[in-house]
């Protein structure tokens, strides 16, 4: 827990209220934030400590102080399941899905934000309403369609990374498009016009002016798309096979028929989480900025 001083140091520009916060407010804040921090951190603490405990400690009664520390779980995780392969698969799938999701969302959002055309409302409403679709309802049909497209065109969609990439990139589209519409709306049209005067076409204006101006929004969308693809379980469990399995599904391999390797589960969970959490936290500044202009205007 970071220590917080009672008197909040402030410059003349930053304070929200020019009035000094009364001590009661500060106390409430301190208590609230301490409790909330404990709530947030507890599972993370458990994850980290359990991953360093020997198996006896995690399969018996919970103990705060481990009987011994070991990095064994971090070594074992790679041989209990082919975690490295899954890692590569997840990186490829989530990375590619993110890139294309952002590209597609940028084009769509630009069209909606800058043009008035017939069917605009239908498009936005339809795309947004797909957020309501229960995944269970279209899991099997999607699988069927992929198989049949594969039969007709020869493009392997089922069981392949490509199929998963297409699925995930579409999953994050509605929210991404919607957020970027908001963000693009906040980019002054005069900028586009100026670019067009300079000789850019509409798409040139998009790429050279609007996209750079909307960078925080795009980062926010990219982070969202990546997280969506990185953590999905249900579709991945049916649509992948041994060679294309992703991490989120692969993690289940640690609870096997015979035993649950809790320390390995925790270690693997941490390993799986680190890239997303790190990326997320590094980019959070953009995220807030992106949401500020995009989603919450």
């Amino acid at each position: 827990m970071p220590e917080r001083s009672v008197r909040v140091p402030r410059s003349p520009r930053t304070p929200r209220s020019p009035m000094a916060a009364p001590p009661s407010f500060l106390w409430i804040r301190r208590v609230f934030l301490t409790l909330l921090t404990a709530f947030v951190v507890l599972p993370v603490f458990v994850m980290v400590t359990s991953s360093l405990k020997p198996l006896e400690d995690v399969s018996g009664k919970f103990r705060w102080i481990p009987s011994g520390l070991t990095i064994r779980p971090y070594i074992d995780i790679w041989s209990t399941v082919p975690l490295a392969d899954y890692f590569v698969n997840s990186l490829i799938v989530a990375g590619t899905a993110t890139v294309f999701s952002v590209v597609v969302a940028v084009f769509s959002a630009y069209a909606v934000s800058r043009y008035s055309f017939r069917g605009k409302r239908v498009f936005t409403v339809t795309v947004l309403s797909t957020q309501m679709f229960p995944g269970i309802l279209f899991l099997l049909p999607l699988f069927l369609i992929f198989v049949n497209i594969g039969d007709v065109t020869g493009i392997p969609l089922f069981g392949s990374r490509l199929g998963l990439i297409i699925t995930y990139l579409t999953f994050s589209l509605p929210f991404s498009i919607w957020m970027l519409i908001g963000y693009f709306d906040s980019v002054p049209r005069e900028l586009d016009e100026a670019a067009k005067v300079d000789g850019c076409g509409p798409v040139g204006a998009l790429l050279r002016v609007v996209v750079p101006a909307a960078r925080p929004g795009i980062v926010a969308v990219a982070v969202y798309a990546f997280m969506t693809a990185w953590g999905e379980v249900l579709f991945a469990s049916v649509m992948t096979n041994e060679t294309t399995r992703t991490l989120a599904v692969g993690l289940q391999g640690y609870s096997t028929l015979n035993d649950v390797y809790w320390n390995q589960i925790m270690a693997a969970s941490l390993v799986v989480s680190v890239p997303v959490v790190a990326g997320f936290l590094l980019l959070q500044r953009y995220l807030v900025a992106g949401l500020t202009a995009g989603a919450v205007k």
Binding site: P9, V41, V44, I136, L142, T170, S273, T292
Partner: protein, 332 residues
Amino acid sequence: MTTTASPEAGERTARTDRPGAQAPRAPRFGRLRRIGLPYLLLLPALLLELLVHLVPMATGIAVSFKELTQFYLRDWINSPWAALENYRVALDFDAPVGQALLSSFATTCLFTALSVALCWVLGVSAAIFLQESFRGRGILRTLFLVPYALPVYAAVITWSFMFQRDNGLINHVLHDQLGLADTPPFWLIGENSFVALLVVSVWKGWPFAFLIVTAGLQNIPRDLYEAAALDGAGIPQQIRRITLPSLRPVNQVLVLVLFLWTFNDFNTPFVLFGNAAPESANLISLHIYQSSFQTWNFGLGSAMSVLLLLFLLAVTSAYLLFTSRGRQAGDA
């Protein structure tokens, strides 16, 4: 992939069309292109939505009118039509199947209401408390986003580890250390499982509210607070009179998104409880999964999903209608 080809094509034509090239083309052609361009830009998204969401959805709806049980799995296209039979079974609240669906639906409603409310309260409070800068604020902000950033599976499996009755941390603290319970309670079976599910859901969900509200707060001009402070308004009044009203449009979207995500949440209960969730925590998506995948009755499962979808559509449209009307009235 065809999806990227079309925008590039659009770009290419756009580039050759610089005034320097002095294209002597008829304005008619340019106009046509201008009308076509938005559609061209939308095409990739449209195709993807069709492929992944809309067509499978239509297929799913078609299946809901079929008797698609294990006997027809292999030749499902020729499975017999069931007309409204699946819907009749799902909605017959006197029979166990309908009853189970109804009780699962009620559970989900209660769960969603509580979860969304708690996420919102925590998110808004934390965002307001962190509005003013103080030492450690940056660290807290970062820390608070961790639950949201963690992959669902990793987070929920950790909670299920903590919620174990005999070996879990929660009971270790409640029973062994604080002595709050005579016998260690169960969290993953029985009535308490609702509480366990709620805790996990709020833990995972509130940072999103926090993130959005934090972003929303940045749009509130500082002079509003300064003016209020000059008028002698204390912090509670400032929050009530400035912060919350300014957050209204943000909240409108936030609550809707939280509602949809929570209502449809499958991963949390599935990872926490496995295939057979306790009755008190049997969320509707998990219930439908059991009704289709576990009992091999995809027709019935699809019918239930369609009903769920209709419900969500109705609620969402009512909500949007209501809030936009409210907003117009507020703006007037």
